[in-house]
């Protein structure tokens, strides 16, 4: 980093929150995805004013700026791919106000998402988006990546809950978008533009999020299917019966085997799929609904259905699903986790395509995910030191995306585009569609300093490159 730029930054940020040493820089060189890029400097700002000053300097000196929460991103969102500075936002956590009357929360971006869940529940309210990293991830990271977790089916995704933001723009101004009202149609909806923008259009320094009443109770059951296609039909039959479960989770046979060999609990090794379905709402209503859903599963050919009678039984059902991640990492040190999403009616077709890809390349590919909203997580387990296999992984990943798009789906349901999916953007949006997005980016960020290297492919980049 140039001395002049460094001197300028020292005027704005005290030295104990500015890191130039190699150890700390390496510590902010990764996230939970694949890839490692060394930043030139790491800064821990404390408030919007500091960030505004830092960004203004970065814009003058043309230094890339990479905002970052807890670094749980699976798509490379916060990776400093062009060097520059990482802004660790975790110190901005002073505000977590629950406004009961207006049913909303006002939060600083560094607040851990699970803390919002807890505070809202204490007030009898509910913040539904719940990525599996919610105990670690910051709300700022969640909403910029638009990561939502299993409840999207019934409650919608993160973007449905963000109604107002304070943002530092790429040129360093502090702006407000939206506000405290649920209805707001004044001008362009910049709030929605920024949520899910993966930090390319600005840095969120405060968010107003909508809360809803907490559901009174929940009921859960598990169903085993000998044929994957039957589980697909069960999903669509339930959804067309007028019942909207709060979660519908799917595990494929490879997943079942991995979990069973990791922590044996009597899962059916011959089953092609397991469905876990949860319903929440009024106790009397869900009693009737859960039985109806279970009947549908039986009618669609489920070989086994078990409704949890106690909280302990409910936890047992969920523990199989929660063991998936640890179980599959036993198969190899490198995990490429995707989140290709298809319309729910296409889930069986997508599963079939994933099967073919697994066979074709002979890879450890397992599939689980949020079946109710079509958000599947194909995971390839490999070892990045095995170059030959990694080359196969690159091809397989490309084919996964192609399959999702062909079936009318999308590249990402909740992980974001980041570095891993940018080469495929044109495949989904077309050249003109991507160009329209680029124009927005250029208007906001004329010097391309805000999280450069994400979402949009570099020139000539047509597929993911994991190893060189």
């Amino acid at each position: 980093m140039e001395k002049e730029a460094l001197d300028d930054l020292s005027q704005v940020i005290p030295s104990d929150r500015m890191y130039l040493d190699l150890a700390e820089r390496y510590c902010y060189s990764y996230d939970a995805s694949f890839g490692e890029y060394l930043p030139e400097i790491v800064i821990q700002p404390k408030n919007a004013e500091e960030i505004s000053e830092v960004v203004k300097l970065a814009n003058t000196h043309k230094i890339p700026v990479y905002p970052r929460g807890s670094g749980t991103s699976l798509s490379g969102g916060p990776l400093p791919v062009k060097g520059g500075m990482v802004l660790d936002m975790t110190l901005l956590r002073d505000k977590l106000i629950i406004d009961r009357e207006n049913m909303l929360a006002i939060v600083s971006p560094g607040v851990i998402t699970a803390n919002i869940h807890k505070k809202a529940e204490d007030a009898g309210l509910f913040y539904p988006p719940d990525p599996s990293s919610s105990n670690v991830a910051t709300i700022g990271g969640n909403l910029l990546e638009n990561s939502s977790g299993p409840k999207g089916l019934k409650y919608g995704t993160t973007k449905e809950y963000v109604i107002g933001l304070e943002v530092v723009t790429p040129t360093g101004e502090i702006i407000r978008t939206g506000g405290k009202t649920v209805k707001n149609v004044t001008g362009y909806d910049l709030t929605r533009l920024i949520v899910g923008s993966e930090g390319t259009l600005g840095i969120v320094t405060e968010a107003i999020i909508r809360l809803i009443p907490k559901p009174q109770s929940k009921h859960t059951f598990v169903a085993h299917f000998n044929h994957l296609i039957d589980s697909g039909h069960a999903i669509t039959s339930i959804l067309s019966s007028g019942i909207l479960p709060s979660a519908m989770e799917l595990m494929d046979n490879a997943c079942i085997r991995a979990v069973e060999s990791y922590r044996p609990s009597g899962l059916p090794l011959q089953a092609e799929a397991i469905l876990i379905i949860e319903i929440d709402g009024h106790p009397l209503a869900i009693e009737e609904e859960i039985n109806k859903c279970a009947d549908i599963c039986r009618a669609e050919g489920a070989s086994y259905v078990k409704i949890a009678e106690t909280e302990e039984e409910r936890q047992t059902i969920w523990s199989a699903r929660k063991s998936v991640s640890p179980a599959i990492t036993q198969m190899g040190p490198t995990k490429i986790s995707e989140d290709a999403t298809v319309p729910r009616s296409q889930i069986p077709a997508m599963m079939e395509r994933l099967n073919q890809i697994r066979e074709k390349y002979g890879l450890n590919l397992v599939v689980f995910g949020h079946a109710g909203d079509g958000n599947l997580h194909p995971n390839i387990i490999t070892d990045k030191r095995n170059i030959t296999e990694m080359k196969k992984v690159e091809l397989a990943v490309s084919e996964i995306f192609e399959a999702a798009i062909e079936l009318g789906g999308t590249l990402s349901g909740e992980h974001g585009i980041g570095t891993l999916k940018s080469p495929y953007m044109e495949m989904e949006l077309g050249i003109t569609g991507v160009n329209m997005m680029k124009k927005i980016k250029e208007a906001w960020d004329p010097n391309n300093i805000m999280n450069p290297g994400k979402i949009f492919p570099d020139k000539g980049q047509t597929r993911v490159v994991l190893v060189t």
Partner: protein, 443 residues
């Protein structure tokens, strides 16, 4: 994209770390689930003070990308070694092993002589003190003399220690009243069970426990005998070596382990009992420590399998014959090594709840390290006190009159915290054995 490369062959230390720990570091998927569990990440707020950060730095060092002394030493040294991250890790990364391999590599790195080489006090204690029970006992006696003669009062009122080192001053005040050495039960003794003999156990006395807290050791043995244990105190046992492995002195740790294995395996005890969470964890890991030593691996594994915490035995053979009520609120601070390594959580709590009159209140953050961390509170005084002061807020909320631990370091650290809060009149820091013995009318 950078790919892991084998380190430069000329860098022997990096090469050793590569072969010892590289595969372990690769198990980390960087999900960050360890972050909320880590007390130093919470208090320091930077990624290099988190388990994920430290694991990555070890990996970088093994790949030869960063320097052992300049880059790796400090982040590793600032780790408490509480291993709460292992409990939180969804994929089971063996953090403790990575940490020890890193410490050993840092100790042995070429530039170690100029900088950061184990400081003199640490070296004196580890190499010339802890391994020698007689020397430890002489110190114990000296401290007893110091306390009994009133010298301690003079020193305290003069505030001289505070000027030399606030850490030492704190520790001096936290030291328990040391019992006269005439009451100490000598090694080589066999104490018969009171009543029917249900179990033959060998007692691991420990170095600090034996010299500074011999009263707790004596009460431990008495409690064991009243629940039906014949208690053997094998001769020639010595320090468990925990502090040595935590400081990267693996060779010395191995030598101590072998001496203990030899001393204990000669007895026909079914179980080896200890009363200090840190020592217990170390004994439990002898199997791992000596796994590559063909001559000792089998015996080490057998030794580890027999090792149990006092709370497990008292719970198993209980109920205890209580004779006195304990009126008041009691809270329990987990010893990290008991909780996260030995996985003993419920037994101490059940024992406390079984004492007549006790109302037991769980403290917020009970599973959070108190930042005693072996000798962490001496070496990193300010960092340690930051974490401790947070804990004291939680303890105050319980309104407890006694906070109970199962480890001497934690017990003293709680005393220091209580002093800092000026709450010595309202709350006591006790070892589990002390409060149980009191309720059983022993003492």
């Amino acid at each position: 994209m950078n790919l892991p490369v084998k380190p430069n062959e000329t860098n022997a230390v990096a090469h050793n770390l590569y072969s010892d720990a590289y595969d372990w570091t690769n198990q980390c998927v960087k999900c960050g689930y360890c972050l909320p569990a880590c007390p130093t990440y919470e208090s320091m707020g930077v990624e290099s003070a988190s388990p994920r950060g430290r694991i990555n730095l070890v990996k970088m060092a093994a790949e030869g990308k960063i320097d052992f002394q300049k880059d790796l030493a400090e982040p590793i040294d600032l780790c408490l070694g509480c291993r709460a991250c292992e409990t939180a890790c969804p994929v089971g990364v063996p953090y403790g092993h990575i940490l020890e391999a890193a410490k050993e590599a840092i100790e042995n790195s070429p530039s170690a002589n100029q900088k950061n080489k184990m400081n003199k006090i640490k070296k004196l204690a580890l190499v010339h003190l802890f391994p020698y029970p007689k020397r430890m006992n002489r110190i114990g006696s000296a401290v007893q003399f110091y306390q009994k003669t009133g010298l301690s009062k003079i020193i305290r009122s003069s505030n001289v220690l505070q000027k030399v080192s606030p850490a030492l001053a704190h520790l001096e005040q936290a030291l328990p009243a040391i019992e006269s050495s005439s009451k100490r039960i000598r090694t080589g003794t066999i104490m018969p069970a009171k009543g029917e003999t249900k179990l033959k156990v060998a007692f691991f006395a420990g170095c600090i426990m034996d010299s500074m807290m011999s009263r707790i050791n004596r009460l431990t043995i008495e409690l064991l005998t009243i629940v039906g244990c014949e208690v053997i105190l094998p001769e020639n046992q010595n320090c468990c070596g925990a502090l040595h492995s935590h400081q990267g002195e693996i060779k010395q740790a191995k030598a101590l382990a072998k001496r203990n294995i030899q001393a204990f395996m000669q007895s026909d005890a079914e179980i080896i009992v200890n009363n200090a969470g840190g020592c217990g964890a170390s004994l439990l890991e002898y199997g791992h420590l000596l796994a590559d030593d063909h001559e000792w691996a089998g015996a080490a594994r057998a030794f580890s399998e027999k090792s149990k915490d006092i709370s497990q035995i008292l719970h198993q053979l209980g109920p205890l014959p209580f004779t006195e009520e304990w009126q008041g609120i009691v809270s329990y601070q987990d010893s990290c090594h008991l909780r996260n390594v030995q996985k003993v959580q419920k037994e101490p709590r059940l024992l406390l709840q079984s004492i007549p009159g006790v109302s037991y209140v769980e403290m917020e953050g009970f599973d959070r390290c108190c930042a005693s961390g072996g000798i962490y509170n001496l070496i990193h005084f300010n960092e340690s006190m930051k974490i401790l002061d947070e804990k004291m807020k939680n303890l105050k909320d319980t309104k407890a009159t006694a906070v109970v631990t199962v480890n001497p370091g934690c017990q003293m650290q709680m005393s220091i915290g209580i002093q800092r809060e000026g709450a010595a009149n309202q709350i006591k820091s006790m070892h589990l054995v002390e409060i149980l013995a009191k309720a059983c009318g022993l003492d």
